[in-house]
């Protein structure tokens, strides 16, 4: 399946993925828990008259679809890069302890109702989540750095340990707070892509864009790294620098995603593997393709989450696993038969 990547093949593959992403991205805003009359939307757009349908379309649906796409794409790219650098097919963005740190921040913000900080567009939950993520990433980096670069084993172990520590901290907070706050905490843990307007989205970009850019630049180096660190060094790859950049890129992108959407699992683990199965293991394709497929996947999942039980909503984290699990198993099965 993994043919040599000619420019033509690259263009072909990327066009296919981009097309898929574009179609889903274009279709998703037209469905929601309420059916909108689109002549009203168009009318309001051109005449600047306020109408509830236009309000829903422009301030609720489009930002939400954008957020779903960005978060899904970022998590998938981060997962794809980490799987190579950590040399572990089970690696995903949350393995770095990010989800744990973010969750502690969120739980603290929720449990102290009087706590009311707002910095720019961020609410107290988002702010503390971000802070938790940054502390955890910084801590793990500090633990894992050595004169020879970053120790990947240490990163894995430290990440898992920090997640466990954070889990205990969350349980402690949960034990202490009054029960009616537990619902809000549980809900945060399930992940959600609920946004209103574009303020929070634009706040996310300074984290996501540099993070993604850092990761996208590593495609070639990751290909070399996949053959082993010695091989990569032999081919002139500065392994320590690649590891650092992937780590930083993942940290930025994931912290941004978690602070707005909560810990949405599964996307970062499954999407890169699905892409490798579908179009080969060349990471110059895997990374951008993961972005397209991850974004499209989470957008579809969110579409299901907000329509299937209308007029109520379902946490998107449930859908990602329920929809993604069987689909991925099917891909595994199919490929297994070909061999």
């Amino acid at each position: 399946m993994t043919a040599i990547l000619t420019p033509k093949r690259f263009a072909l593959l990327m066009t296919a993925y981009a097309l898929l992403a574009l179609v889903i991205f274009a279709v998703a805003p037209f469905f929601g828990s309420e059916s909108l009359a689109f002549n009203n939307v168009v009318d309001a757009l051109f005449s600047h008259r306020a109408h509830v349908d236009a309000d829903i379309f422009f301030y609720h649906r489009i930002p939400r679809v954008l957020l779903a796409f960005l978060v899904g794409g970022s998590l998938a790219v981060a997962g794809g890069a980490l799987q190579v650098v950590l040399r572990n097919p089970l690696a995903e963005p949350f393995i770095l302890g990010i989800a744990g740190g973010g969750a502690v921040g969120a739980v603290i913000a929720i449990s102290v109702p009087g706590l009311f900080i707002r910095a720019g567009p961020f609410s107290s939950v988002q702010l503390l989540t971000l802070l938790g993520c940054i502390i955890c990433i910084g801590g793990i980096y500090w633990l894992a750095r050595s004169p020879l670069g970053i120790s990947m084993t240490t990163i894995l172990l430290a990440g898992v340990t920090i997640n466990i520590l954070c889990g205990a901290a969350i349980l402690l907070v949960r034990y202490l707070v009054s029960p009616h706050l537990l619902v809000a905490m549980d809900r945060w843990m399930m992940g959600g892509l609920d946004v209103v307007g574009y303020r929070e989205l634009s706040a996310l970009l300074p984290l996501l864009l540099p993070g993604l850019a850092l990761l996208f630049m590593q495609g070639h180096a990751l290909n070399q790294l996949a053959f082993g660190e010695e091989m990569a060094v032999g081919h002139g790859v500065n392994v320590a620098s690649v590891q650092k950049q992937v780590f930083l890129g993942t940290g930025l992108a994931t912290a941004g995603a978690v602070s707005l959407a909560g810990p949405i699992g599964f996307v970062g683990l499954i999407i890169p593997h699905a892409v490798r199965r579908l179009s080969g293991v060349d990471h110059r394709v895997v990374l951008p393709a993961s972005f397209c497929l991850g974004g499209a996947f989470l957008t579809v999942c969110d579409l299901v989450a907000r329509t299937v039980v209308a007029p109520t909503e379902m946490p998107v984290g449930i859908i990602t696993a329920l929809v993604g699990g069987p689909v991925f198993l099917r891909i595994l099965l199919k490929r297994g038969k070909v061999r």
Partner: protein, 258 residues
């Protein structure tokens, strides 16, 4: 073993036979002074053993306490008060268990009269479309939890002259879609923050957080109310008081007369 049960027992005049209550039993004031035996998630079985009650009353299902009582030979009474009709049933059950059937009958009649009185008062006024917010992510408009048709609060709202915009939902406490919230255009939003101590400044901040949903009539007409009284979420003998309380923000014009 629940605030509404403790309240009912006191309302039946049997407050002096209560040996312990949960951490959450704060009404009436006498209940606060009782020995505490934890809550639903952390029942203090050691203290229950030490107190050795003659009867333990449980709201709903609780396997751990049930099994404990069976092992210790403590008789258990189950009540399930989570709607107006089941409140009456619970009161009657408790009345017969505590040998106060006529007090229970009397209490039910009082509640019935209170509810009828509220209904009569609001009858002359147009019904209001209401969105009930039971919880949301702090300082954001995400994860809006509301009350569906089968919930207790939706039932009282109905009596208080309001129509819950999510009454068609069969889940008792669902997460509302904001699209549907905008489309259903409630005239009033009631946000519940039971038990929280809120300053006037904080209240204004909470109300201002709704401004982001500017398309909703309740927001543009400044009819967002924050209620902190926990009696609204306790399905017990104060249901009549709760209905009257809820009618106040719905129909501000009524209160002048009464």
């Amino acid at each position: 073993m629940a605030p509404n049960i403790t309240e009912t027992i006191f309302a039946l005049g049997c407050g002096d036979c209560v040996v312990a209550a949960t951490d959450f039993c704060t009404y009436p004031a006498e209940a606060r002074a009782l020995p505490k035996v934890g809550g639903y998630f952390n029942p203090n079985l050691e203290r229950l053993t030490a107190l050795c009650p003659d009867l333990l009353i449980l709201q709903g299902k609780h396997e751990k306490v049930d099994a404990f009582c069976r092992a210790k030979g403590i008789p258990v009474l189950h009540v399930a008060m989570d709607s107006i009709s089941s409140i009456y049933r619970g009161i009657v059950d408790l009345g017969s268990a505590l040998h106060r059937p006529e007090r229970a009958e009397h209490l039910c009649t009082t509640i019935r009269h209170q509810l009828e009185a509220v209904q009569k008062e609001v009858a002359g006024y147009p019904r209001q479309k209401v969105f009930i917010c039971l919880g949301r992510a702090p300082s954001g408009m995400t994860n809006l939890y509301t009350a569906g048709g089968p919930s207790f609060i939706s039932e009282i709202l109905q009596i208080a002259g309001g129509d819950n915009i999510f009454a068609d939902v069969t889940q008792p406490y669902p997460e509302a879609s904001k699209e549907s919230l905008l489309k259903r255009a409630p005239e009033i939003i009631i946000e519940m923050r039971p038990g929280e101590d809120i300053s006037d400044l904080r209240r204004r901040q909470i109300i201002a957080e709704w401004d982001i949903l500017r398309g909703v009539p309740a927001v543009s007409n400044r009819r967002v109310y924050v209620l902190t009284e926990d009696l609204l979420l306790v399905p017990g003998p104060r249901v009549g008081v709760a209905a009257r309380f809820l009618a106040k923000p719905l129909h501000p014009e009524i209160q002048d007369g009464s």
